[in-house]
């Protein structure tokens, strides 16, 4: 039986599996966001992103966010999955999604899931350029 809420920190994300996890007989709408590594950031070429997490806390925070989404919208399924380790250009680093009876709820919930994840889940990203590497957003 599929779970209502799926929360995971993984080494590798297969973005194609999320649809099966979100589908549900009462869900007319499924909305998914996939975040991937972009080749250029502010005109500088990125070689890779390195993700690190405080896993026990990240899982707890993602579960809280999923539960907040359930409380705000009428949802049938929620998935939040983040990758850790070294990710090259075009590789997926995060997948979040929600399914619901009608499309308003899943669109709004999906946006909330990714915005809130970025805001407070303890995951850190280092941009690796040719000659340097930088922890994103660390300093003003």
């Amino acid at each position: 039986m599929k779970q209502e809420i799926t929360i995971e920190i993984v080494d590798h994300i297969d973005a194609s599996q999320v649809y099966g996890e979100l589908s549900h007989p009462n869900s007319g709408g499924i909305c998914v966001f996939v975040g991937a590594v972009r080749e250029f950031t502010q005109n500088e070429q990125v070689i890779a992103l390195e993700f690190e997490t405080y896993k026990a806390m990240a899982i707890k925070e993602m579960r809280k966010i999923a539960e907040e989404a359930y409380a705000k919208w009428n949802l049938n399924r929620v998935v939040m999955r983040h990758a850790v380790g070294n990710k090259g250009v075009e590789e997926p680093v995060v997948v979040v999604g929600a399914s619901s009876g009608h499309r308003d709820a899943c669109f709004e919930a999906c946006r909330f899931l990714i915005d809130t994840l970025k805001d407070r889940v303890p995951i850190w990203k280092k941009e690796i350029f040719k000659n340097k590497s930088v922890w994103v957003s660390a300093t003003p």
Binding site: P122, I123, K125, W135, S137, A138
Partner: protein, 80 residues
């Protein structure tokens, strides 16, 4: 008392955790912990933000610390 370190905080301290020595006066609250660490590692004070988690939950400055708590320093997050 041990403090887990991640991201840039780990780079600043140079270790993946920081341990107060037996002889040290242990910080009694989240606020005291941040003060002590910022004194020892001034680079921590230049971050956009610095939060503390106690037992894997965000903790306010007033929260008291106990010897058995799992404590972590949370520099600005940047997932996604």
């Amino acid at each position: 008392m041990e403090v887990l370190l991640f991201g840039i905080a780990k780079d600043i301290v140079g270790e993946s955790s920081f341990r107060f020595d037996e002889g040290d006066v242990l910080p009694g609250s989240v606020f005291e912990l941040k003060q002590k660490l910022k004194q020892s590692f001034p680079e921590l004070d230049k971050l956009s933000s610095l939060a503390v988690a106690v037992n894997s939950e965000y903790a306010e400055d007033e929260e008291k610390l106990s010897r058995g708590d799992e404590i972590a320093l949370i520099p600005p997050v940047s997932g996604g």
